[in-house]
């Protein structure tokens, strides 16, 4: 494949044009993601596949070997395992918060201690999720506490 890079002046807006046979090809999607600087994950809901940006994900959860992606008000099913989500989220605001969940730090409204020796994180949509003591140190490090 031919790759052309053209240097332009600061007065011009940067642009990426992809000339391809199939706009739906996976490599085109990859270029799109790289250009937008957004990592995404695919989620199924009512037989429809949707590409979700990591920034809109509230948390990932694995229940009975099935993976789910939770956003503000919707739940999607995904094919990835928890460790694959972990790899995908490396370096982002998402962190492992319990044995079965990866949580987006930016969606946490506040945390409070739970009598069960763990923490409860109240999210910006009002949902409450458990943060284990084991993983709270990760959250503290990410926040710089």
């Amino acid at each position: 494949m031919k790759v052309t890079v053209e240097q332009i002046g600061r007065e011009h807006e940067e642009e990426l044009i992809v000339r391809c046979h199939d706009p739906g090809a996976s490599w085109v999607e990859g270029v799109r993601e790289a250009a937008s600087g957004q990592r995404t994950v695919c989620g199924w809901r009512e037989n429809t596949l949707r590409r979700l940006k990591l920034s809109e994900v509230f948390y990932f959860e694995v229940v009975d070997d099935r993976s789910f992606v939770y956003t503000q008000a919707e739940v999607f099913e995904a094919k990835e395992k928890l460790y694959e989500f972990e790899q995908l989220c490396a370096g982002s605001a998402l962190f492992r918060c319990s044995k079965s969940m990866i949580l987006n730090m930016e969606k946490i409204d506040y945390v409070r201690p739970s009598p069960s020796g763990r923490f409860e994180a109240v999210l910006s949509n009002g949902e409450k999720v458990v943060v284990s003591r084991k993983y709270v140190s990760v959250l503290k490090r990410m926040l710089g506490v």
Partner: protein, 131 residues
């Protein structure tokens, strides 16, 4: 260390209440306290689970843990002469319960402090983003 400290505290108050004039053989006494601590820590395996515990299952395991501690520590303490008569046994059992409650309260206090630090940082980050 928290378990060890709580056992030491309970022992101190028990001696203060029931036998203030007692003299302790240091090596034997500390050795026995260490055994108690070790049992206390090993018994925490009751909480082990591959899945994240629900609040209900946490409470069930907490009650089981208390029963296990009572079942193991009471006969051992009797064997070492920490209690002799029936009423003493009830008081000793009460101290084990108190030690467990104290441990959870200490844990809750530490968690409350951590939560407050995290919330403060979240609040600051939010203010910085708005500014």
């Amino acid at each position: 260390m928290t378990v060890y400290g709580i056992i030491m505290l309970c022992t101190f108050f028990m001696c203060l209440l029931f036998n203030p004039a007692s003299e302790l053989p240091v090596v034997t006494f500390f050795g026995r306290i260490m055994v108690f601590t070790l049992i206390g820590l090993l018994s925490l395996a009751v909480y082990y689970s591959k899945e994240e515990l629900t609040v209900k299952s946490w409470w069930i395991r907490t009650v089981l843990h208390l029963l296990l501690l009572e079942a193991v520590l009471l006969p051992l303490a009797h064997h070492w002469g920490f209690w002799k008569s029936g009423p003493d046994a009830w008081i000793y059992a009460g101290f084990i319960l108190l030690a467990k409650v104290l441990l959870h309260l200490v844990e809750y206090g530490i968690n409350a402090k951590t939560a407050s630090q995290i919330n403060e940082k979240i609040r600051k980050n939010r203010l910085e983003k708005r500014a």
